[in-house]
Symmetry: C2
Subunit: 300 residues, 2 copies
């Protein structure tokens, strides 16, 4: 199961009690932070996100509303005596910004901060169960979307059937992955005798600040949940184009063409106090759309 | 009249719904921002501080809880189409940090940002009515306190008396400053005939992060209001010393020795959820002490 908790759903200027962009993606094994606008660590306090559990942070681009909260979070983790490695993925200049701010106060973080510069469309994080791939979007400056995808179907152990065999629990993870078991006496116990298929692999795409950009459709095709920015309503399409942003309608068109299962829209301009029209506009094109609301956890 | 509005009263890690350091000092003509921890612009929204009115920002030192909110505020002012010059006073490296973050996103602020590096104890801002002087405090890194002082007594025009003379309203500001008026017929109208003294000049001292440091006493002697940090209770005096901070008792001792009229203490460690003991401890040494509470405006 994936879940996405929205910590900020506003565009550049914080208003209407809305905050700049930050999201937490919870997967089976990971708590990923995606973008980190100013105030993200306070929003984590408010919504009971345990910041110590985050080991990977993905920054889409270097407009301040997507990263000004990062340095505060990194230093707070240090003051909280974190020792586990932390990995930050983002445009190369971010490393310089962070290091400069750590240097001026002679800060020695008690943990290792690994910075990974994003340079091209590729898998930037991978483990046994899932991979994170970045893809280019079209914004005023270099900007990356992120695709989080489970690798394969995990299988579930059937408690009634497993009782019939003497399989050590240390092999259970291999059973989840679909492997057969060979006993000490060379007897084959087929995986399907003791497990059942659970569910198809989950996927989540985060399409950061971007114009309407059909080149991403192949990348995000069929994902379970697509987050796409929708800074303006379509009445301001020209403004959206000029500022390298999208409208709610355009976000929905991308979702429709990519055949995603569900769409979440956010990054709303401070011009709009109420957000109802965003939902209405998007749903006319793509019915299964939700507004990204702060503090709300969306399950995939 | 001066007033100080507290936007953040916590030390480094934001907790207990308390925020990192930021204050707004309102004088007759100015809205000064003193320090600018992460989230300051959101706190301004919450407490109805008009950020556009701020023309001078003073940053005491480069620990993040005193300046991580600055870059967000500066860019927001740009997005709000500010055109008036803005002046930032702080340690030299702050300029490099700000410029690097503006450069990476090709930001062109629509206003002129004047950065003034603080290098020595001197008057760093001055106009007809008041001056701001910086003074050294004793912290782990370079750190400055700020003294805001009205220059002289302003006089108030007596509406009954002024009726007897034909003085143009354009001269009224000079009357406030104590000047006599000479009519077109070279007749002298003495200032004291038409004005009355109002009040002694106001003063406010902001003593930023510091150990107990008696060298500041001469600088802040007799001020109307002293803000002094009080990160710990005196039971943790050793911790305070090691971390270059003060206890509530020490802040009160400085206030007592400097003969200030009132003391405001803040920058409380996240260790403390309740703050009542800070008030009790300080008041045992210096009765006229208040806790700096967020959103509260203290009049001088």
């Amino acid at each position: 199961m994936f879940s996405v908790t929205i910590l900020g759903n506003n565009s550049a200027v914080p208003t209407h009690d809305r905050h700049p962009t930050a999201q937490v993606l919870q997967t089976l094994d990971h708590t990923f932070l995606i973008d980190c606008g100013e105030g993200t660590q306070m929003q984590m306090n408010l919504y009971k996100i345990k910041r110590g559990k985050i080991n990977q942070i993905f920054i889409s681009h270097l407009h301040g509303d997507h990263y000004f909260g990062l340095i505060g979070l990194l230093t707070t983790l240090g003051l909280n005596h974190r020792t586990a490695d932390l990995h930050v993925y983002g445009p190369a200049a971010l490393k310089e910004i962070i290091n400069l701010q750590l240097d001026v106060c002679n800060a020695n973080l008690p943990y290792t901060l690994n910075f990974h510069s994003i340079n091209s469309e590729e898998i930037i994080f991978e483990d046994k169960k899932m991979a994170v791939e970045c893809f280019k979007v079209n914004h005023r400056i270099e900007c990356w979307g992120f695709l989080f995808r489970e690798k394969k179907n995990l299988r579930k152990i059937d408690p009634k059937k497993i009782k019939n065999y003497n399989i050590p629990t240390t092999f259970y993870e291999s059973l989840h992955e679909g492997k057969d078991y060979i006993t000490e006496n060379n007897k084959l116990i087929k995986n399907e005798w003791v497990t059942v298929p659970v569910r198809p692999p989950k996927s989540y795409a985060y399409s950061a600040d971007t114009t309407y950009f059909e080149q991403i459709i192949d990348k995000i095709s069929g994902v379970d949940l697509l987050y796409h920015e929708a800074t303006y309503l379509h009445a301001l399409e020209e403004k959206a184009v000029n500022r390298f942003h999208s409208t709610a309608k355009q976000a929905a068109m991308i979702a429709e063409k990519a055949g995603v299962k569900k769409l979440l829209i956010g990054h709303f301009s401070s011009m709009y106090e109420k957000l109802d029209d965003f939902k209405t506009e998007a749903r006319e094109v793509f019915e299964n759309t939700d507004i990204a609301e702060e503090g709300v956890c969306y399950f995939v």
